[in-house]
Amino acid sequence: MIRFDNVTKTYPKQNRPALRDVSLEIEKGEFVFLVGSSGSGKSTFLRLILREERTDTGLVHVLGKDLNRLSNWKVPHMRRQLGTVFQDFRLLPNKTVAQNVAFALEVIGKPRGTIRKTVPEVLDLVGLAGKEDRMPGELSGGEQQRVAIARAFVNRPMLLIADEPTGNLDPQTSVGIMRLLDRINRTGTTVVMATHDQNIVDQMRKRVIELEKGRLVRDQSRGVYGYQH
């Protein structure tokens, strides 16, 4: 699903690489936590998967494709097989809940009939049935994140990338979001989630990948947030 081979990435005008010689593999259907302090390289890791950045050296394979050799015009098609969720939700404030989800399908040219059918389905799945016509501003943070997850999942992606999806939510709400992500994972979708939320990582007992100053320092199945010696 995802394979990193000796990946190093340095941003322009920076001395220290954001990622240094990272190699790992994530299998289909896995649920992986990506942990590490700010500046440890988590975001770079995710940006490489989304092909927002390219590696300096080393290879990144996503869904069987070598992203370094993927031409620009094929990138959109690759991204249609990924779903992305962010800490700040990134909803369109002037569109309703249903329109926000439909937008993701409209802009990839899906026919109207498909959109009409799939949008209510996915809203039902994330627990927002009956709130189709609300504006994002009228929803709680947790509900907004559910809209974002619905938008990311409406295309039934193979892989869901979540960058601190609970970063703006209270613990109670976060648990609800995690349940939802877990449910999505159970449908066969691989989930990679960067997080700072210790409680969540410790409770879920999933695979944990820890980065520190750009290096891979821990890769533990059924792990916890940090070593607690």
């Binding site: 989304l50 620009n72 015009w73 990924l82 990134r90």
Partner: protein, 305 residues
Amino acid sequence: MRLQFFLSEIGVGLRRNLTMTFAVIISVALSLALAGGALLANKQVDSMKGYWYDKVQVTVYMCNKSDATSTPSCAKGAVTDDQKKAILADLKKLPIVEKVYFETAEGAYKNYEQQFKNSPMAASITPDQMQENYRVKLKDPTKFTVIASAFQGRPGVQSVEDQRAVLKNLFSLLGGMTKAAYVVLAFMLTVAMLLIINTVRVSAFSRRRETGIMRLVGASSFYIQMPFIMEAAFAGLVGAAVACVMLLGGRYFMIDAGLKLQDKIPLVSFLGWDSVVQVLPLVLLIGFLMPATAAFIALRRYLRV
């Protein structure tokens, strides 16, 4: 869905940037009106050249009675019939002469009267002040000097006049105006292009949230860029339509009403409506393509995948 989606995106973009949209419309309208105007001025000069150069005549004026005192070349008095015959024979002998018309003093007076009927000049001239003349059509209108050197100073000839010399000033004036229009046009087009590029950038920036999401969910560059390109093209098309109205109005007010050039300069055959209408599709096409291209260039650097 797609079309509806595009249209609503375009509408939102145009409304959000209303002032910039107006700036684009106005600058496109002005530059295209200027472009069309310059094009038409060129056509006008060409058509006038065609009109006059076909009919151009070197005129050989004969001496009349009153010239005997006022013009040195006619000191021997009015032209005689023998002299006239000899001049006509010699003119016809020249290989470059295509045709020779004879105009009597009365005929010349009538033409003059007709041409300047609205002018006080007509009243001050009497028929006996007009010269009899030969109007000569040349095979090659530029060979005026051959006639001039052959007949200037010949007994009975008052003067030889190149009709084209009269028009040369008019043509150089029109030519100069056209060139000036092209220079202004170049600046206007640059301003329009820069404005469009800037407008598109502002538009793309104000919608970076949307375009960011579009990139994330895997929209192709076509889907992401097309609303911006169509936005610019639409504004350009409106500008081009305004330019068309300006061209049609310009012809009406300069030639038919307002300045009434047709009445003031009856000698000139001005461009008809058909010539103006012929230019309009070109104006519309440029008005559509230029902003679309400018937008495309602006987005290439701004909206990468």
